[in-house]
Structures are given as C-alpha cells and as structure tokens.
Amino acid sequence: MIVQFFIPHPVVNDIANRLQNWAIIVISFSYVLGSANILRINGELVYRRGSGWPYKLVLVAAFFLMVIPGLLFGIKEGSWANDRLFAYTYTPLASTMYASLAFFIASAAFRAFRIRTWQASVLAITALVVMLGRVPISHLIWDELPGIVDWIMNVPNTVAQRGILIGAALGAIATGLKVILGIERSYLGRD
C-alpha cells in the first residue's frame, strides 16, 4: 500500500488492488468466526443457565431473528428483513442510544466546569463565552462576542488540536514502521 502511494503505475495498482480484495475476502470470512464466537459464548451460558442467561437467550434469539429472514428474504432496502427488523427495530434503538449522549454530555460538562483550580476556572469561563457566542442572540449580548468566539475556536483551539495531531501522526508513522520492520509483532500473537 505504501508503494502504491508513491508509484501510481497500473502494474503496482493491480497488485495493490488484488491485495485489498484478498483482505476483503478474509474479513468476510471473519464474520463466520464472529458469529461462532457469539453463539459459543452465549449459547453455552444459556445451556448452563449461567449468570444473566435470560439476556444471553434474548441475544441468541435476536441473532437468529436477524440472520434467518435476512438469508431468506434478502437485505436490500424494501425487503421484509431490512425494513421490519433493521430499519424499524434496530435503527430506532441505535438512535435512542445515540440520543442518550445529550444527557451524558450534560453530566460530564457539569463535572468538567466545577471551578476548583485556576485551570478549571479558565476552562469554565472559556466554555461560557463560547456557548454564549454560539447562540443566535449572541450579538445582542455584545456585538464583539461572535468575533471573540471565532478567535477562540480558530486560534487557540486549532493550535492545540494541530499540536496533538502532529504528535499523533508521528506516533502513527512510528507504529507503522515498527510493524513493517518487524519490531512490533504482538498483533500476530508474538511478543
């Protein structure tokens, strides 16, 4: 993949595409392993009536409820399995889970903005200014407020983010080199 980044010739592209296709095939087969993992762990617990077995039973039942109609009726948009089970059942559940983030943000913000140290005070005041500046009536509070908020977001905030990004990018390259050079092999199950 690295060679393909520097050499755009079709000869290299063909090899890279072939490797990517192999990866897709291997990953596809991993779903069989994943399914086996779910059934082995949860099925065994249900069979042994282990702790929390009713939950596991629901999981195993839901697994088959999704897989069997999906295999029988297909999973394209408009099919029974997609519409009734995925779009009308799973998607609302996932949306509910996502919506709970609003409450988690509120509780997390409450803890973050408790003023105990001078750093927390700076954080709380900055957050207050940004929140006030982002509301539609911000210019009624003070004409300069939206400009100050833009400066906070575009200068100190962006500078800090870029600093983190440069460090993280170098770390990522170093990790990649460790893998390529064989220094790091734990992902292959070797120390």
Binding site: F5, F6, I7, P8, H9, P10, N13, A23, V26, I27, S30, Y31, L33, G34, S35, N37, I38, R40, I41, S51, G52, Y55, Y90, L93, A94, M97, Y98, S100, L101, F104, I105, S107, A108, A109, R111, A112, Q161, I164, L165, I166, G167, A168, L170, G171, A172, I173, A174, T175, G176, L177, K178, V179, I183, E184, S186, Y187, L188, G189, R190, D191
Partner: protein, 413 residues
C-alpha cells in the same frame, strides 16, 4: 406580405420538425459560433495513466452567453464520443478520467472535443394560440462543437514526483529510527518524560485485584488495519500480562469480527508471558456487534452486570466514547483512556481518571514494555518532532520575510 407569411410558415414548419425529432424539452442545434476557439488535451503527470487534462479557450465571438461546457472523448477521431465531464460556463479546463462505462487506460490514444452550451430563442408552433399568431417563442439549448483534438496518449508514471517531499521525510524518519535503535542497543541512556496514565495501568489493575473484579479492555471500534488498533493490541498484551500476574480476568469486548482472533492471540500471549497460560479464558474475548451503538450498549451492559473494576479504552473511538466512559464513571471503575482521535479526547479527559493524549498513546507500548527497539523508535519520534518544530519556526520566519519555498515544498499533493 405573402413572402413574410411564407417565411413564418417555413420557420414554424422547421421548428415543428425539430420538436418531433428531438425531445420535447431540449432542442439541440449543432453550430460553430459558441465553440471554444482552441482545445488542447494533455497527459496528467504523476498518475496511473488514467487521466487527461483538457484545456480550452472560449470563443472570441461576442453575443454568446455560455451556460457550460461538455468534454467528450473517443478512441478514434470519428467517434463514437463519450461524455467525460461537464463544467460551468466560466471554467476553461477539466480533468477527464475513467468512469463506470468508459475507461481511460495507460498507453492508449484519445481524441477529444469540447461542446459549448448556450441558449437561443426559437419560434415554435402552438395550436392553442390564435391563428393570427400561431407561434410562440421559447428558449432552447444550443450546442456548438469544437474540432476534434488528438491523439493524446495517456501515460502512466513510475513515481509520483509530487510526493517526493513525503518520501524524503519517511526516509529521514526511517534513518533516525535505525540510528536510535542502534544507540539504544549499544546501551545509550534514553530519557523520556513521565506519563501519569502509564503509571496508572498498574494502579488500575491493582484496584481490580483488591476488589476481585475483572478488567475491561476496549481496543477501539476500528478494524486491525487502523494504526490505533494495532497500537492498542500491543498494549493489550502488556495489560493481559499484568492481569495474569494478579490472577484477574480480562474481558475484551470487540466491535469487529476480524479482531476476535487478533485479540485472542494478544491476550493468550499476555497470559503466556506471565507464565499463566492455564488462566486464559477464551470466553472473555467477546465479539458483540459491528454496529456502533449495539456494541456500545453491549459493552455498557458488561460493565454494569459484571461490575468490572478497571476500564481501558485504548484505540480509535467515535461517538461511543462518552457513553462508554460516563457509564464506566457511574459504575465507579478506575478508567484509563487513550486515543489519537482529537475530537474524542475532551470526552475522555472529562470522564476518565487518566487520558493518554495523541502521541502519548502511541508511546505507551514502548514505555510499558521498556523494549530497547521500541524505546529507540520512540526516541527517533521525539527527534523527528523536534525537526518539525524547527521547520515550523524557520517556515514562519521565511514567510514573514516573503520567502515561500519552504511552504510550497511541504505542501501535500
């Protein structure tokens, strides 16, 4: 008067034929007036030979209001021509590349023409109007073709010279890594600043041991091709070794089926490193779901039901980061997070006891294992960071005095 009437009748008849021959809404008239004056097609450098750059100059004749241009290409001068690109009337060049039905291939020659699209007003017969009028005036599109240009051969490059800067930086980094590994192996003292989150790993596992509860390790929500996941698997082995030393179970919920075997191997290796392969429990490596929020609710369920006492969130996370860490906080577990996803860092900082930020996260495996090769790589990263900071400082100074070459050299294409 009869001449005028016959002219009008002829015009109406022509328009009627046009209406019948073409689609009802668009009448196309092939003309030369608005066609581009010159058209040039050239091969795009530093690509795989699958693109051509077509440039044209607009007509010098006045009175045309060009709505847009259509770029057509064929393998023979006589056609058949395929529509390859459409632009607005102000654009004078377009890249054409392979599409779904037609391919531009390296080594093949192509003929190109550009069609200018403008509008004209036509008189069209309308039976609903009184006989004295008989016609109505409507605006129609008019197409004006340029002559065919070519042949132009699409050529494939063996090196993308636009990326020479990145190539040289990687070579430089590679050399630094090799040098620092050599120095580390030779016994040179390598100093690194203390990272609180790394020291806290033992503290967290110790806490779980005191409570007799399992450790939860979430290696992110991305597949193994993500570099953050690879870094997380390195750490998973180290954390598993420590958990095995204290005889504490480690639960690894997974968001990707492919990760099952990888995580199994990493944890198994960790237990073997601790000399406790018998304590390894395969059932604790749990694939939950590929779906983001199904995985999130499954993981939070494990936290609440199994009362896990130490949580590690190390890897690539997205919207699930705050849900996981807030539920973990509510459960009272000690939590250590690490990610390079900048937008998730504030959530982890707020909800977790320790957070490994960006580069710290990638440095953790070296600092935990104290492996000489890894430490050498980490030191090389530090020097590279110093080099980039120096480039930034020099670049700022050069920009201030109006010298632009450093900025353009670092530009990524």
């Amino acid at each position: 008067m009869p001449q005028k009437a016959s002219c009008l009748l002829l015009l109406v008849l022509c328009c009627h034929i046009c209406v019948r021959a073409q689609s009802d809404s668009v009448i196309t008239i092939i003309a030369q007036g608005a066609a581009p004056a010159t058209v040039v097609a050239e091969d795009v450098a530093n690509d795989g030979g699958d693109r051509l750059l077509v440039k044209w100059t607009p007509t010098s004749q006045v009175g045309f209001s060009i709505l847009g241009y259509r770029v057509l290409a064929a393998k023979a001068a006589a056609g058949p021509f395929q529509l390859m690109a459409e632009t607005d009337g102000r654009t004078n060049e377009a890249h054409i590349s392979s599409g779904e039905s037609w391919k531009i291939e390296a080594g093949d020659a192509y003929f190109v023409k550009v069609v200018a699209v403008d509008s004209t007003t036509l008189a069209v017969a309308d039976s609903s109007l009184p006989d004295s009028v008989g016609v109505k005036f409507v605006k129609r599109l008019r197409l004006s073709e340029s002559p065919v240009t070519g042949p132009t051969v699409a050529e494939a490059s063996w090196f993308n010279w636009d990326r020479l800067n990145i190539f040289l930086m990687i070579v430089l980094f590679y050399a630094a890594v090799m040098y620092m590994i050599k120095r580390a192996k030779a016994g040179a003292s390598l100093h690194f600043r203390k990272i609180a989150g790394i020291d806290a790993i033992d503290e967290a596992i110790g806490r779980a041991t005191e409570l007799g509860k399992p450790v939860l390790y979430v290696p992110g929500t991305q597949n193994i091709e993500n570099i953050q996941t690879i870094a997380s698997i390195q750490l998973l082995t180290s954390v598993a070794t420590r958990a095995a030393n204290y005889d504490i179970p480690i639960i690894v919920p997974l968001n990707r089926a492919f990760m099952v075997t990888v995580a199994e191997e990493a944890v198994k290796q960790g237990f073997m490193n601790a000399g406790r392969p018998d304590a390894y429990v395969p059932d604790n490596i749990r694939y939950l779901s590929d779906e983001q929020f199904a995985f999130t609710s499954g993981t939070t369920g494990i936290m609440m039901r199994e009362k896990t006492a130490a949580h590690f969130y190390l890897g690539a996370f997205f919207a699930e980061s705050l849900i996981l860490s807030e539920v973990g906080f509510t459960s009272g577990a000690i939590q250590i997070a690490g990610t390079a996803n900048v937008h998730q860092l504030p959530f982890f900082v707020v909800a977790c006891d320790y957070t490994l930020i960006g580069e710290e996260y990638f440095a953790t495996s070296a600092l935990v294992t104290r492996d000489l090769e890894m430490m050498g790589t980490l030191k090389a990263t530090d020097y590279m960071k110093g080099f980039i900071i120096a480039c930034l400082a020099i670049g700022m100074f050069l920009e201030l005095i109006g010298v632009k070459f450093l900025r353009s050299w670092f530009q990524f294409i």
